[in-house]
Every structure is written in structure tokens, then in C-alpha cells.
Symmetry: D2
Subunit: 462 residues, 4 copies
């Protein structure tokens, strides 16, 4: 049965239990308790400084809230569903603990600006955490790149072998994505850290509040410019979940590769036992479950983004109850991206790469066919003719079941008289990779330079 | 720390705790316990009939599973996260209870076909429940329509007053949507109720199973045609969530109208207290929270659908671990649509309509302007000229702040000599509505016929 | 420059050119011309039968519309953007051609029911076409399955080799998906084929129309039950695009497999030249562009579905101009799914399968490890012990770089004394597949039966 | 019929016409012609500076490309579908015009880095344009706010009257949203303006290119750090379309309000004729089509975002043909957001506000009920008691069909003895608004300050 509601005066019937079940949010918004308390502390201190409440009241409030925080964290706090949300639960308990002063805390504040404040504080904490985890994963990738500076594998386009690339270069491609994520999240944070406290229900308040002071106290970069916008803006949540979506896109791409690489037809990686599962029936199995689930969980974060955007479309000013639905998509995306970044960093740290399998795949993929054509161009052939000779060499090697570099000089000379002994140098995979030395390319020096730049960023961002 | 896994043989390191947290599903898939047991019962009975296990074992299994079901339902069952999922939890407990026979239950079955079976059974149960609730809401709307057969309100297009319509007709428009939902869900159910049990890991099994028999035992309409498709198809879940999405579209449209209607500028409805909330600050407030949350929750169901489709895109055959992510979107959509249908039916049953406010809105909207034009055409005017006269009458009435029907005959005759005393009959809202008597129209007889048809459907569908 | 609008009477300013550019739809909705004319013919004939217009007028209208259709189809028709949409363009031209009778065509009709009618007619035509193309692709797959009844390949779960399956079985798994698509589209069609003609603007009409007759004339299965629902329902479009989304899911899964199979690490397929592209730089390349684009285009159809659902969320009754945005997502999904089905059917018809590469992949994947465990169980071993022996055999073969079947009897007996000469029969891939003879399994007889059932469906559906 | 392809060497069959229709992109990517030429100019100049091609060749290329640009812009250019894309069309024409030198342009470049370069250049141009248009709309809103500094209207929460707010404040809430959009787009631009030119196919190139120089030449802020990332990153497109999505969210909210405000039950706005449409049937109609379409078109931009994210999920490195599907969603979002911003700015410039209707709505909404409660608290009442008295006053006024301020002093004193003559000052709407003077509130000075800040931003951003 529903308790007495604060707004009950004008109502004769009581809230139906169904309505209560449908509208309650404390089961998920209690996750905001720390931020709710943090915001209330800032508000109380400001009220006292502005002379709206007594200094004594502010001290009681501060002590009461500290006690509530302890209760919540040691499990002693009794959450009450009929109190609707985290704000009412905390406020009711505060009044229980400290009496009238507890009621004064809400002076000049509405749940509309309070919930926006709590949520922004929470999103800001989580985004900073994401940045740390994305950077950590990038650091792991860079470290593994450093170990595999000279390991080569087929670079694919269209999942067809294209040109040899360094494994370090390949891993750094992902590291660059996560670096970009950090920058994007950093930009988003600027817009998250704008305090709505002081906007009250929608129009500001008649009390002489100092919203700049509460903003500073809570570590926000600025206060709201417009009270109606302050209570009805949820752009920051959508932008945060968009950032999470791109993190997941990057993780899903890495996952797809690992899943393919773990198949025996590739065999480029051996999954660490701690990150794979087997089968109770099939003794030969070692399944890349972590990568599959990472790929799969990408979908739910996209779903969260869809939900948040759809939610806000066409809502009139200012607060609408629809907006209570802003939190669960963010929480879901947060849990997913947090754990996915963490488990993938741990897995990549222990991933075993098989350079020999990569080498075999290069041979099978005739990945040096471009080199042969370039070699012929270097010897004076027209590009089109060189391309054709190379194509015929591929056909010959395929017939024999060998790589281009395994053909004899005779065989090759049978295809073009321009070919000489130095062709084998040209066909060498390592040479092929090293030749691509322009900035950002897969040549050894280029990758070394890239790695150095990346480590500099890591240190500065750390 | 992780327990000993069934597939641990080939593995030396133990599953990392992170991996476990990332891959565990028992926290959400335990919701399938009843269906897991139901499927196991069917499987055990079939195994015994086919002579794969002893009749005695089947009896033990049946008793053991019945006991487990009781344990779960009275809260005595100990869910174990290191057991990964609901299937392993139930099976491990069964073996604890009945020994070796418990292990034989899994003969000729894999978790791949088992989870697909459980999920389909569950979705089928839930869809049938949705149909019941959608029909219930439709019944409420039809009942309220019956009460308001003669109440008129402005029919809007572009949210601008267009023509008078019956409130009954308006409510029945929604009832028709929910009827269509029932039919769509019914079609979906045919595809849900196809048993995958017997497909085993992906290729079928070497035991002489009888998948048709288990399908029948579980109440499915058919068994799988292809074992690889059986374990990797999740179309049914996507289709179910799509059905839920359209239900929510319909509810969101109704909600939007109620939100607008509850604004004092309209005042067409007074929300029952049990389905509204007030404000702790603003004494005049009565907020349509149920409708707002219904509209808002529509977004999360769309997000669930996005997640499910995105999940399945580009997955190779057969089972992939990504597919573990199929359940939570369905569960979320299920909870949302179930509660939303229920609370809206309860609310509509008690919704108070204000016929007087509707009447005023018709006057203000010059909703009989079409009637005036038609009247003039009836008197011999060309349509374009009639349209223009009516437009000028609107302008005149607007200036005076009255409805068209409040203009004097003199005023009207000043606009056109064709106008006579009988114009007021034409301008009468009730007449205007009653004139639209073609099947499916808003005329009284037409609505009566619609209502009769609808009630016939309700009875047949009941 | 804007022309004179039909509704211009009450307006003094003219429509701004910007508004015109923003609101015009004729550039995309002219695609509905045939259905617009078809609907108008039905309406005109009904009006004459009901005595609303003269028989003579109906004949003029019929001739006029036939002429307009010819003009459009031979490119002589002048589309006029200031006429807004296809309906006004056709109607204006009709009046040009046949005079006053042309204006009478619109009697008792509004653009609201007209556009809904046209769109439903169009969607119905397209859905029937999709069904034909999906069936055609299914037929190709079944045919190719018939050719490869005995070709084996590794069946994968988690993209790890699991158990040998027939290529025919694998192809039929996809055929089953497209069969299911046909059934789902068929169900959708029932809801598409409900005529809204006669609902007029929103409330029905004062003319004695016969909406059942026009419904029959146009080949619809029923007429609308409620005029407000009739003009504001777009469920059918969303459901159609959902059906398209699942077709694309299936195509994307097939595409993913072909892309992986075409990689030299697998080599299961050789792409027909007509469906692959090369590289101007890399002579060895043969890229699976058709499959990649199919997979990529799946995303846009999901986007179309998102757009349609989001569009309809929260729209009040009845018609709103937002709904003009219903057509482009459908058109886009239609073009995509139509061409994707067609090009994939053509490609699968010519796809070259490499049974030898599949065989090698089975050896490399120790795909008969389950068989070894089962063999040991058959000889009396406990399953857990058998699983372990098999695991050790896998390790041994992996060390030697061979398949399990390439180990010597001595080697195997070193692992378990239960092993005898007949183990090699057990390890044989063909035997392994054939042992799975339960209905729907990959055994030869089971696949034969599946294929026969499938062909029966194809014939009946043809 | 298909022309000779550049990569045709190894292929015997010709590309099927179906494949061509499925894979062609020139019909949409020709929109990139200016950027394709701009990128080629930078590349040619750099090649000459680096000594890779002759200075003479660079001059020919420059002249040739200038000619092609003219041809395209005056409609003389012949687009050829069998040339697949804009790049090949331009290159082929260049070789036609200037011979061998044309072929040398592609040295050290691949279509993979070329298309990424073109697309980034294009997105950068469009984003800058969006910023200009969003700022323009914000400027219009600020200007209108300046005109209506003292106009009051009901501020709503839950679409229920809450507290009086200034129309200027309300309009500025939207202006703040579009300002935030400008900032977000500006951040996105940093990530768009990273040049991929020089990454070649995926691995960099063997020619001594200077990617920093080409980046500078094209106005990019930086060059790629990793060639594999450079050719396979489409984050920038997704982020751009996300920015567009939030712009549309804001426009959709404004639209929803205008649609509701234009309804006669509100009547807060009169739509300028140039931005409204009427009805050919209903003479009284004036429909807010622009706002409805803006709201509706929001859905398609969300669909574009869904498409882009879904597209990129799970794609392995590096280029995949799926990525050709990146452009159309961006183009569609671009057209939509560009026109929507423009038409809404034009419409808002001419929107007519009805202050009298707003005033009536305030009375009807008892929007000064909070003021009465606050007044009583000021006189010494406990807040809960004051809230109750105010609630009873609302009930009394509602019964009488008047506003609170229309009750007599006697009536009010009957409810509480604390009430005196000065209550009417408290109930005055203007006073109520002016009392909310904290920064960002709706008080006159607060709004003035907000407006001044906003104009400063506009000037700085201009």
C-alpha cells in the first residue's frame, strides 16, 4: 500500500498500486545516492552562506547526510519503494535523523533540478572512469605492439590478403581508436559538467541562491544559463551513450578479428585459458566467448542510444515525466562499456600471438603480389603489364600450392624476362613492409615513431 | 573464485573472475526456470519412451525436477553464479538430488538446443499474456465507447480542429489498434512455437530421439526442420519485440492525447487520482505521469528491438555466444509492455471525460466550417465559392470570439444570399457527425455497427 | 515559384519557397502513380454505381486516367513540384484533359484516405514481389544443396570447428530462413490489404459511398473498420520494413560466411568472377564485394525501421503531416531488399564450393573429437574419462600437425586400451555426419527428407 | 553493359550487370566531386614537390582538374555508371583530357585513402555550414526574445501549468540548445579534420610522400597517425550524424510546442501564412506543416545514425566494401538538418505570438498557486498548511471558473486569516516571474543578463 504522498493535498483517491509500480524509480536511481548527497551538501553550505538557512542547520544537515552515506554503504539503510525515488528516501531519512533542519534542505530546490544535478554528477564520474579504462586498454595494446614490432601478418582489405603489415601497426590502429575515444569523452565531459542546481522547478527561485557557488563546490565547470533548459536538457546523457557506442564499435571490431584469428584456418592467436571456454561435449573446443559477448553487447549499447534519443524527441518544455527513463539506458551502457573495456584489456595483456601462422597466411594469400608488380615497374615495365605478369605468377603459385617466393627463378623468368635474382629480395615480406616508411605507414621506423608519439600521449593523459 | 567447469579438461589456467562476471547469465536467465524444467520433463519422458534411458530414471528425473521447482518457488533454491546459467544450476541440483540419473537427462541434448527451447517456451507464454492484456484494454475502450456513444469532440488533423467526431469513435480507433496487435501477436506465435529440441549442438544427434514427440509434449505446433537453423535462429525474439514495439506505438499515441487533453487549454479529461501525481511545491498540479511514462517507455522497447536486430546481423552459423544477449532485450520489452497495457487499461476504465470542454473546443475550432460549405453547395453554390464564403464566416466569428453557430442569420446572409434558417441545422455538431454514416464513419449508426462488430470479436477472442 | 494552392482562400501571404521545398513530396511519391490511378479508377466506378456521379463522368475519368498512365510511362508527363504530391499532379492533369468531370473524382475522398490507399496498394505489390524473390533464393539454395548432398564441411559454433555437417544441410539452414520470411511477409500482407478508401479526411463522408466495393475492386481483403484509424495507421509500413529487416539479417549472415569462406585461410568458396571485384593495385585480389555490400546494406534497412517507428511514436489522432515521412524509409528498404535478394540468388547459383578445402579444415579442427569420445563411451568408458582421452588425442595430433584420423592405432592405444581398429570408422567424417539421423539432423537420410519437404513447399508456394 | 575494369586481369567472366547495379556508387558519391578535385590538387602538388612526378605533370593535372570542375558545374560532364564512382569518373576524364600525366596522379594513392579524404573534406564543409545555420536560428530566437522580454506565458511541467515564465526566457531555452549544438559540432570538427591521405590501400606507401603537407594544403588540422586506422575509421561520420540527431531533437521539441500552441485551445501563436497550409475541404484550417515535418524528419536522422553505427559494428580491419554505405546516411542527415534549420529560422522570424492567449492560459492554469502558498509562508504559515490553503483556493476558483486573482479578498480570507490586501500583489503574474531573479532564472534582470551573454556569444561566434 502506498504511503502518504507529499503532494497528496488535492487528491482524494490514493495512488493505485499499479501506478506506483509503474512510476517508481528508487530501484534503479538509488545508484545515484552518493551524488545526491554530494549535491545536497553543496546546496546546504550555499544556503547557509547566503543566509537562507542557519549555519547550525547546515552543520546538522552535513552530519546527517554523512551518516546516511555510511548507512547506505554498510547496507543498513532501508530503501522504501513508496518513497518513489532516491531523493525522497534520503530526505525522509534525513528528517528522521535531524528533524526540522532536514526539511529546510530542500529550500529553493525542486526535484527537477536536483535529479538533473545528481545525474550529471554521476555521468561525469563514470565518463572519467571510462577514459581511464580506455587509456588502459590503449596502453596494453601499445605495450603488446612494442613486443611485436617485427611480427608481420597479412593486412586485409575486404578480408582478403592485401599487403603485409606489422602486428604492432595493426594493434596500434586499435590503440588510436581508443585514444580518439578518450578525446571524444573529454569533449563530452565539458557539456556534462554544467550545474543545473538553482533552476528549481523550471523558472529559477525566489530565494537568493548562488548557483555559481554550488557549481564550483561540486566541481562543475559552469552553471546553467537558462533554468528551463537546465531542467529539461538530457543532451549530455545521449552524448555520453553515443561515446560509449563508439567505444563498443571499436571493441566489436577487435572482437571480430580475434574470433576469426582464433579459428584454426587462421590460428593467429591462442586465447589465454582464463578468457576462453570449452565444451562439455566437444573436447577440441576453445571458444572466444569474451570476444563474442563483447561483439554482442555492442548491440545493447546501440539500443540504449536509440532509447535515449527517441525518448527526448518531441518533448515540450520543461520537465516531463518521460525523462525518468533517461537513467536506465545510461546505467546499462555504463556497465557494459566499463566491463567490456576492462575484460578486453586483461585479455589482450595475455593474448598469445602465433607469428608462424601469420607467416603461412601471408604465403597463402600471395601478399607480395604488389611487390612483384612494383619490382617489374622498377625494372622498366609499364604498370599494367607488370600487374598482369604478377597476376600470372599468382596463378602459377596457386596451382603449385606454394607462395610466390617459393617459385624458382626459372619459373618467374618464364613469365617475364625482366626478372632477376634480386626479385626474391623484393618478395621478402619484411622488406615489403619496411618499404612503407612514410609517416603513419607500416615501415619499421614509421611504426617506431608512431609508438613513441603514442607513449607520449599515454604519459600525458595518465 | 570459479568452480570446476564441465569443459575444463583441456584448460590449464582457470577462468578469470572478470571473464566470469562478463559471461555469466544466471542472474537474468533464471527467469526461465519453469520452462527449463518443462523442457527437461518432455525430454526425459521421450528418452524413456525411445529406450535411451530407463523408465526408472525418467521417474527419478521427474520427481527431482518437481522438487527443484518447489525449491525455486519457495525461495529455498541456491543459485550459484559460478554455474553460469539456469540450465547448469538446475542440472547440478538434480544430480545432487537424484544422483547418476540426473546426468543422463542431458543425453542427446546440448545447451544450444536447450536454451532455444526454454526461450521459445517462455516467449510463447508471454505473448499469450500480452494478447490477453491487449484484448482487455481494447475491451475497456469499447466499454467506454459504449458509454459515450453520443459525446462529441473535435476530430483533429495536424492537431487542428477538423470535423466533429464521436468520442466513442475516437476510443474505438484505439481499440482497433489493439485488436490488430492481437492478430499480429497471434501470427508471431506460430513462428515462436516451433520446437528446437533435438537439434543438439548444431547437427542433430546420434541417439534415436523423437523431436516430434517432445514438440507435442511441450505444446509446440511443430519441430525444427533443420538443426543448424534451430540453434541459431532468433527471429522469433525479434518479431516478438517488434510486436511489442507496435503495441507501445499505440499506447504512446493514446498517451500523447491524454497528456494534451489533461492540459486546461483542452480539459477533455480529468485524470483519476489513482493515476496522477501532484507536486510538493505547486498546489494546483495534477500530472499525467502514467501517460508520460508510457510514452517514455516506448523508447526503451524500440531500443530493445534495435539491440536484437543489431545483435543478429552478420552472425555466422551456428550458435555464437553473442546470442546470449537475446534475452535481456526481450525481458525488458516484456516487463514494459505488460505493465503498460495493464496500467493503461486500469486508468482508462476510470478516466473522466468532460463533454462540455469538448463542446467548447468545437466552437472555438469552427469545426462546422465544412458543414457550412457543404450546405451552400447543397443550395447550389459552386464548391470553391462555398469554401470561400465559409472561410469568411470563420473570420467573422473569430473576430467576435464566437462559434459559427452563434452568428445571427443576418450576419450569415450578409455573406451569402443562399443562406436560410435551416443553416443552423447544418451547423449543429451532432447533425454534422450523424451525417457521416458510411461504414466505418463517425455517424451514430456506423459507430453502433462498429461497436457491435468489435464486441463480437472480443467475445470470440476471449 | 509557388502556384495557386487549392486551400489558399484564407491565406494572404503565399507559401514561402523554403516551405515548399521542405514540404514537397512529389519527387518521391510519384513512384505511387500506378496505385494512385488504380485507386481512383475504383473510386470513380463506385461513385457512378452509387449514383454520386454520372456514368458518363466515370467513363471520362477512366479514359483520362488511362491516358495519364500512358503519359507517365512514356515520359511525356510533366511533374510539377508546386503541385506538392502525386495526387495533385494526377488530378490537375485529369482536369486539364477531361474538364469538370475530373474535379468530381475527388467527391467523398480526401488526400488522407487517398494517400493511405495508394501506399497500401504499393506495399502490397512490393511484398508479393519480395516473397517471389525470397522463394527464388530459397530455391537456388535447395538446388545447390541437392548437388552437394554428400559434401562435408566443419559445422562451427563460436566460429570454432564443432562437428562435421553436410554442405547441403548448411545451405538448407539458410533456405529455411527465407521460407520463414515468406511466411512472415504473407502474414503481414493480410494487414496491408485493408482498404482505407472511404474514410475521407478522418470522419467518413456524407456521400453514400460503398467502401466494401472499392476494397474488393482494388483486390483488398477487407475495408477499414474505423475511419480515424484508417487515415492514421501506418503499422503496415513498419511491419513491412520489419519483415525486410529480418530478410536482411538472414542475407547478412550468409554474407558473413561467404566473406570468411572466401578468405584463403578457409578457401571454401571461389567467387564467380561476375560477382567479385579485383584491385587496380594488388593483382592477387578477388574481393567479395557483393557479400560485403549486402552485409552493409542491412544497416540501412534497420535505419529505415528505426525511422518508421520513431516517426509514429506519440502522434495524436488522426492524420499528421509527420506521416508524409512514411514513404521514403519503405522505398529505401524495398529497393535494398529487392536487389539484395536478386543479386544473392544469382551469385549463389554460380558459387563454386571447394570440398577439398572443407575437408582440410575438418582435419585441422579435430572435428571428430566428439566421435572419439562417443566411441570410447560405446566401449564402456565413463563419459568424463572418454572426454579427457579425446582431449589428449587432440593435443597429440596438434603437436604432430595432423588430424585425429592420421594418428596410428599404436598412438591411440597409448591413450586408452579400449581403442581398437574400428576407431577409424568412428573417426571417419562421413560416418560422423551420417550417424546424426534424427529428423532435422545432418545425416544423409535426414537431409534427404528435409530437402524433399522443402521442395514440396517450393512447389506449393510457387 | 560493363566497361573494362582496371582490375580485370585475373578475371575471365565480366561483372554481371546485377553486380554493377548493386555496387555502383557514382549516383550518390558524385556529390563529392569538389572535394575529390581539391584532394587531388593537394596530392599532385605534393607529388611534384617531393619529386615523385614532374612539375610539368602537376601543372597539367591542375589545369585538367580545373576544367573538369567547370564541366561538372555547368552540366557538361558525362557521368558514367560503369566507372563505379566519382573518383574513377574524374580520373578517367582527366586522362582523356591530359593523357599520361593523368594516370600519374594516382601514384602513392589508393581509392581507400582517397575516398576517406574526400568524405572528410565534405563533412567538414557541411558541419561548418550547420554551425552557421544553428547560430542563425539561435540569433533569431534571441532577437524574438528581445522583443518579448515582458511577455509572460505559463511555464509547463508535465504539460501542466506550473509557474509563469517570460516568453523571452522560453525562447532563450531553445537558443541555448542550438548554442550547445554549435559547440558540439565544433568539437566534432576537430576529429573530422584529420587527413587520411597518404595511408594508401592500408599500409602506407613506398613513395616518399609528405602527408603532413597535403593535410595542411587541404586545411586539415592534422594527418593520420596510423594508416590502417586512417582507411577504416568512420567515427567522424557517425559523430557528425549524432550531432545532427541532437539538433533535430531540439527542433522536434520546438516543433511540438508550436503545434500545440497553434491549436485553438492554446492559441499562443498564429503561424505566418508562408509557413502553414490549409485544407481544400475544411475552410477553417491552418496547419503547422513545417513543424510537423520537422518533428517527423527527426526520425529519419535517428535512422541514419542507427544505420551508420550498425554498419561499422564488427568490421575487421582495414577497408571493407560495407563502408561504401557510409555516405548516404550522412547525405540524408545533412539535407534534412540543413533545410530544417533554415526553414525554422525563417518561420520563427515571422512567428506571431499572442500574449493575450498566454495570459488567459495562466489564469486557467492557476499558475500563481505557488505564489499564494509562498505568500502564506511569508506571513508565518507552515509550508504544508500554506500548500493546503492554496489547494483549497484553487478548488474554489475552479468552481467559479475564474483565476485565483479573480477571487475576492473575502473569499480568500475565508480560507486563511493570514491573507490581506497585499495578496493580490503576490498573485500578480508579472511579480511572480520577476521574483525569480537568481542567475538563469525567469526574472527580468536575470533574463536581461542571459540575453546579453547570449548576444556576446553570437557576436564572437559570428
Amino acid at each position: 500500500m502506498a504511503g502518504k504522498k507529499l503532494w497528496g493535498g488535492r487528491f482524494t483517491g490514493s495512488t493505485s498500486e499499479l501506478t506506483e509500480r509503474f512510476t517508481v524509480s528508487v530501484d534503479f536511481d538509488k545508484r545515484l545516492y552518493a551524488e545526491d548527497i554530494r549535491g545536497s551538501l553543496a546546496h546546504a553550505r550555499m544556503l547557509a552562506r547566503q543566509g537562507v538557512i542557519e549555519e547550525q542547520d547546515a552543520v546538522s544537515i552535513e552530519n546527517g547526510l554523512a551518516g546516511i552515506k555510511r548507512e547506505i554503504e554498510n547496507g543498513a539503510f532501508k530503501w522504501n519503494e513508496s518513497m518513489e525515488d532516491v531523493h525522497m528516501n534520503v530526505e525522509a531519512r534525513l528528517t528522521e535523523l535531524i528533524g526540522e533542519a532536514g526539511k529546510r534542505l530542500h529550500t529553493g530546490r525542486s526535484r527537477n533540478d536536483q535529479v538533473a544535478t545528481d545525474f550529471r554528477l554521476h555521468v561525469a564520474v563514470r565518463l572519467a572512469d571510462w577514459m581511464g579504462r580506455a587509456r588502459e586498454l590503449a596502453a596494453v595494446l601499445a605495450e603488446r605492439a612494442g613486443e611485436h614490432l617485427d611480427t608481420l601478418l597479412p593486412g586485409y582489405t575486404h578480408l582478403q590478403p592485401a599487403q603485409p603489415v606489422r602486428l604492432s601497426h595493426h594493434l596500434l590502429a586499435y590503440a588510436q581508436m581508443f585514444k580518439r575515444d578518450c578525446e571524444r569523452i573529454g569533449d563530452c565531459l565539458k557539456r556534462v559538467k554544467v550545474s543545473p542546481l538553482g533552476a528549481a522547478a523550471l523558472a529559477g527561485t525566489t530565494y537568493p541562491l548562488d548557483p555559481d557557488a554550488t557549481a564550483r563546490d561540486m566541481g562543475f565547470g559552469a552553471r546553467f544559463a537558462n533554468s528551463m533548459d537546465a531542467v529539461s536538457d538530457r543532451d549530455f546523457a545521449a552524448e555520453a551513450v553515443f561515446c560509449a557506442s563508439l567505444v563498443m564499435v571499436h571493441l566489436s571490431r577487435l572482437s571480430e578479428e580475434l574470433i576469426i584469428w582464433a579459428n584454426p584456418g587462421f590460428g593467429f592467436v591462442r586465447l589465454p585459458d582464463a578468457f576462453a571456454t570449452g565444451s562439455s561435449i566437444m573436447p577440441q573446443k576453445k571458444n572466444p566467448d569474451v570476444s563474442e559477448l563483447t561483439r554482442g553487447k555492442t548491440a545493447r549499447v546501440f539500443g540504449d542510444l536509440t532509447a535515449l534519443l527517441t525518448l527526448m524527441k518531441g518533448l515540450p518544455l520543461a520537465y516531463n515525466r518521460d525523462m525518468q527513463e533517461d537513467k536506465e539506458p545510461f546505467f546499462d551502457a555504463d556497465e557494459t562499456v566499463t566491463l567490456a573495456l576492462t575484460v578486453n584489456a586483461a585479455m589482450m595483456r595475455e593474448m598469445v600471438f602465433d607469428a608462424e601462422a601469420m607467416r603461412k597466411a601471408m604465403a597463402k594469400g600471395f601478399i607480395n603480389a604488389t611487390e612483384l608488380a612494383d619490382y617489374l615497374v622498377g625494372k622498366g615495365a609499364a604498370f599494367r603489364a607488370a600487374h598482369e605478369v604478377s597476376g600470372r605468377a599468382v596463378a602459377l603459385a596457386q596451382d603449385r600450392g606454394v607462395g610466390l617466393e617459393d617459385l624458382s627463378l626459372d619459373d618467374l623468368q618464364g613469365l617475364s624476362e625482366l626478372i632477376e635474382q634480386d626479385v626474391f629480395e623484393a618478395l621478402d615480406y619484411q622488406n615489403a613492409a619496411d618499404r612503407r616508411e612514410t609517416p603513419g605507414g607500416t615501415g619499421k621506423n614509421a611504426v617506431r615513431a608512431q609508438l613513441a608519439d603514442f607513449k607520449a600521449w599515454l604519459e600525458q593523459a595518465g
